[in-house]
């Protein structure tokens, strides 16, 4: 069985005149967590945002090379970007719940998808909140404002909102960097649970986090992919000296 979800070949990317990614080849595998690590400015977030074309929202950007999602070119002109982002959901560094109730945050995407029946809506709200390990904390106050939740709860709400529309892939851009250690630990546990159902790509500047939650790790430096391998390999015996220096804290 082919486990490939994303296949990136010779991917180059520019912000105006400055090149951010150079000839990146990466394969993202199904139901595996892939972590993108590297020092600031290495291109890891740029790469992540290429996967669901979030970079389209930035002016004067340019892409070269190919990103295939199950064999289909993500950047082909006929691709419906909204549809793409439904399949490839995203969670950001800073939790960004809508200023609505907890339930409405989840229901928002579902209503756009045409789910309006009360019963189905509430079932799917509950299912999403359960998957995001938030249900027990909010089940008695679904109509309260999402803004009243703690930072960690807000981030789990954003994850619940992302998975409510049943994406195949979840992109996470530093999902824990605004959270305290306890909330971080909860999100990390959640990330490991979610891989049973989703394919996750996570950008993190916290190497230990990459080690804990991912199956594959890609190390970037100055826009180039230095090394991509099983996380156990990267953290016990990396092939590249630069990777070794980075994961051992001697560089970067």
């Amino acid at each position: 069985m082919d486990n490939t979800v994303f296949e990136l070949t010779k991917l180059n990317f520019w912000y105006g005149p400055s090149q951010a990614l150079y000839d990146v080849d990466v394969t993202i595998r199904r139901n595996q967590n892939t972590a993108l690590i590297g020092p600031s400015g290495c291109g890891k977030s740029t790469l992540l945002r290429c996967l669901n074309r979030m970079n389209d929202l930035i002016e004067r950007t340019r892409v070269q090379g190919s990103i295939m999602l199950h064999g289909q070119d993500v950047y082909a002109p006929e691709v419906d970007v909204i549809e793409l982002r439904k399949r490839v959901g995203m969670v950001f560094q800073k939790s960004n719940p809508f200023p609505k109730s907890i339930a409405d945050n989840i229901a928002y995407g579902l209503r756009i998808q045409g789910v309006t029946a009360k019963g189905e809506l509430s079932d799917r709200i509950e299912a999403s909140l359960r998957k995001a390990a938030l249900w027990d904390e909010v089940k008695d106050r679904l109509q309260e404002s999402a803004m009243a939740l703690s930072g960690g709860q807000q981030q789990r709400l954003c994850i619940a909102r992302a998975i409510a529309v049943e994406p195949e892939v979840l992109l996470m851009d530093e999902p824990c960097s605004a959270l305290d250690p306890v909330a971080t630990a909860k999100i990390e546990e959640l990330i490991q649970d979610l891989k049973k159902e989703y394919t996750i790509v996570i950008v993190t500047h916290n190497m230990q986090q990459a080690a804990r939650v991912s199956d594959y790790t890609a190390f970037f430096y100055l826009g180039k992919l230095v090394e991509f391998d099983a996380t156990t390999k990267i953290f016990t015996n990396p092939a590249n000296k630069q990777t070794e220096d980075y994961v051992t804290g001697r560089f970067g």
Binding site: A185, E189, Q192, D193, Q208, A211, R212, T232, F235, T236
Partner: protein
């Protein structure tokens, strides 16, 4: 809250328990081979040893991965470090069993030197030590591990007794030398198994009490 990491630690513990079962079996088979003069059983010990070698490498690999990926702290860290030491000791117990089994094969080539008395007694003692120390590990009973350590002197004394007795056999009749030397080796290997059980016990006290009790009576 049970973490994914807890499951991984649980898997490591299971690997050790499977390994312990093989190690105990290999000692039992080696002794049975000796007492019953059974060469087939002696060969089984070789197979078990190969199994233990592989299991030791697996435990070390998983231990290293968990340290690299999980950054274990406190009791988790002690558990992984001790798990790797336990694997080493179990593998060595397997080596001692192989050595006993090989001597048993040689001994079957000649008539019995004498009825075996002290050696089976020694064997029973080190098997109990090994079994108890593994119970101490499984049921988190450092006090049981300490009892195991206390038995080691009795094993050493029995070994000394066997050595004296066999030496007198050799002095009286040079025909007995090769058999006596083989039996002496068997006793010596049993004594070593007692030492491994003691090392295991010290590791288990460290695991559960965070106290290093090695080298205190030296």
């Amino acid at each position: 809250m049970e973490l994914h990491f807890d499951q991984e630690l649980g898997q490591l513990k299971e690997m050790l328990l499977r390994m312990a079962a093989v190690a105990e079996q290999s000692v039992a088979d080696a002794l049975k081979a000796l007492v019953e003069r059974n060469e087939e059983l002696a060969r089984k010990v070789d197979t078990e040893d190969a199994q233990l070698d592989r299991m030791e490498m697996d435990v070390d690999r998983v231990g290293i991965e968990l340290i690299a990926l999980r950054q274990p702290k406190a009791s988790d860290l002690r558990f992984i470090i001790v798990a790797m030491k336990i694997a080493t000791e179990l593998e060595r117990i397997g080596d001692q069993a192989v050595s006993i089994a090989h001597r048993a094969c040689e001994l079957t080539q000649e008539p019995p030197l004498k009825p075996l008395v002290d050696i089976p007694q020694m064997a029973a003692l080190v098997q109990k030590m090994t079994h108890d120390v593994l119970d101490a590990f499984v049921y988190a009973k450092p006090e049981l591990a300490r009892e195991v350590i206390a038995h080691d002197n009795a094993v050493d004394q029995l070994n000394e007794q066997v050595r004296r007795e066999l030496t007198s056999f050799m002095i009286e009749d040079p025909q007995t030398i090769s058999r006596a030397l083989n039996l002496m080796t068997v006793a010596r290997k049993l004594e070593r198994i007692g030492d491994h059980a003691t090392n295991l016990a010290e590791g288990i006290v460290y695991l559960y009490e965070a106290r290093d009790i090695r080298h205190q009576n030296e």
